[in-house]
Symmetry: C2
Subunit: 226 residues, 2 copies
DNA sequence: ATGATACTCGAACGCCTGTTCTGTGTCAAG
DNA sequence: CTTGACACAGAACAGGCGTTCGAGTATCAT
């Protein structure tokens, strides 16, 4: 029979699968799954194998376990609750620099320090998917998007947008990153600033427009201005 | 034997005791207690009696239960976890209207619909006190504070501010509400807009300035602009 | 080859736990 | 006084669940 080869570095596919299942189960049921439920949904036929992986995940610090207690497991670091999302802060965003986009398997491991927690109840629409990432705004170049220095923008990675959505775009012709409301028009694109007093950027079809993500939320921690 | 008299209105002593125990147990163990554990710590000798009360608490909406599932209960309504704050949205804030301030005992009861949840990890400084309230911005009158129509501002009620703090003030002379950075100067007050391209409001000492609260956070859910 | 290591399976054991049933004492209404 | 709702106890049942054990298989370095 085919055997899975262990990826000596990081988590194997089954580890990841179990981790994901615990998270999604917790979100749906408000409590952790049992060992047998994990086995069923992760195609593991024996409870002892689930237990085997759970032990490893505990040793590697990904989960905590309360032995002997039914469903006594919880994720550590990442999403402790089903009510919150942990969004990785992948870097900064500023006018003169390209946008850091999430590398393929970048969501797997990120330190709790470099992430922000968002209550799912705050999330607009059905963007509750876990493919979100965050960037910290650097500089005052986004003031036309009503976004301050230091603000945190939550993005959903995408290559195309619908009219009226706020997107993060890289204008390679101008060497510029910007956040604007996106409108496709007959002769090109219109990038509308959030500030209604400011004029839009009109782009011809010939000009390059790379959509990197869609803005779903902006968070500003107001400390002191000094 | 002594019997407890049921308080026909509200929760009896045992109901409250069970509720408190579930909360404290959950805090300590990260998972809910079992029926028998509740019985032991609440001086109830029979599991059926615990079940009896749990049923009532479920009917009255204080807890939710997953039948047949071990420790399948959880508190509803109030933030069961210490990881999130529930902030009441007391109303709207706009230029032409006074600021709704929290009435004395207003934090006690508010519906979950009229509140926003904030992860404590997001809270700046030590404003994690629960005396916070939120207002929804109405209109474009706060654009000079880099705040959009529909944004949610989290406020901490206070009557005075230190220099550099963003405050919500009511200028009775002008019949105007505004959000500005606050600076006390020798000849009066300076109210500085967050947008660095805009000019401050200079106030003489004689002009009335009512500070209603201090802004600690701004949240913008970006849906669609259309 | 050979042993070590990693991984998997199936089954059984036994405690944990929610559920249910029977019975008892209290108290207010009829 | 009878009746019934209410609060409670105790015991037993049945299924859920974590744990453990024995055994088998694939990969790989020795």
């Amino acid at each position: 029979m085919m055997m899975m080869v262990r990826k000596s570095k990081g988590l194997g596919e089954r580890h990841q699968r179990i981790l994901d299942f615990i998270a999604s189960y917790q979100r749906e049921h408000k409590h952790p799954p049992s060992i047998r439920e994990i086995g069923e949904h992760c195609d593991i036929s024996s409870t002892s194998v689930v237990n085997y992986y759970l032990d490893q995940l505990e040793k590697s610090g990904h989960i905590e376990r309360d032995r002997k207690i039914s469903r006594g497991m919880r994720l550590t670091g990442n999403t402790p609750l089903g009510d919150m999302l942990r969004v990785p802060v992948l870097g900064v965003i500023q006018a003169g620099e390209p946008i850091p986009v999430p590398s393929n398997a970048d969501f797997a491991s990120f330190t709790p320090e470099d992430s922000v927690e968002i209550a799912t109840s705050l999330m607009p629409g059905k963007e509750k998917g876990k493919e979100l990432f965050a960037l910290q705004v650097q500089g005052d170049s986004m003031i036309d998007a009503m976004i301050n220095d230091g603000d945190i923008v939550i993005l959903k990675p995408t290559q195309d947008a619908r009219n009226g959505e706020m997107v993060a775009v890289w204008l390679s012709d101008r060497n510029e990153t910007t956040l604007k409301y996106y409108y496709k028009e007959k002769d090109g694109y219109r990038l509308q600033p959030a500030n209604p007093t400011m004029k839009p950027i009109m782009l011809k079809k010939t000009e390059a427009l790379e959509i990197k993500g869609k803005v779903v939320m902006v968070i500003r921690k107001v400390e002191r201005y000094n």
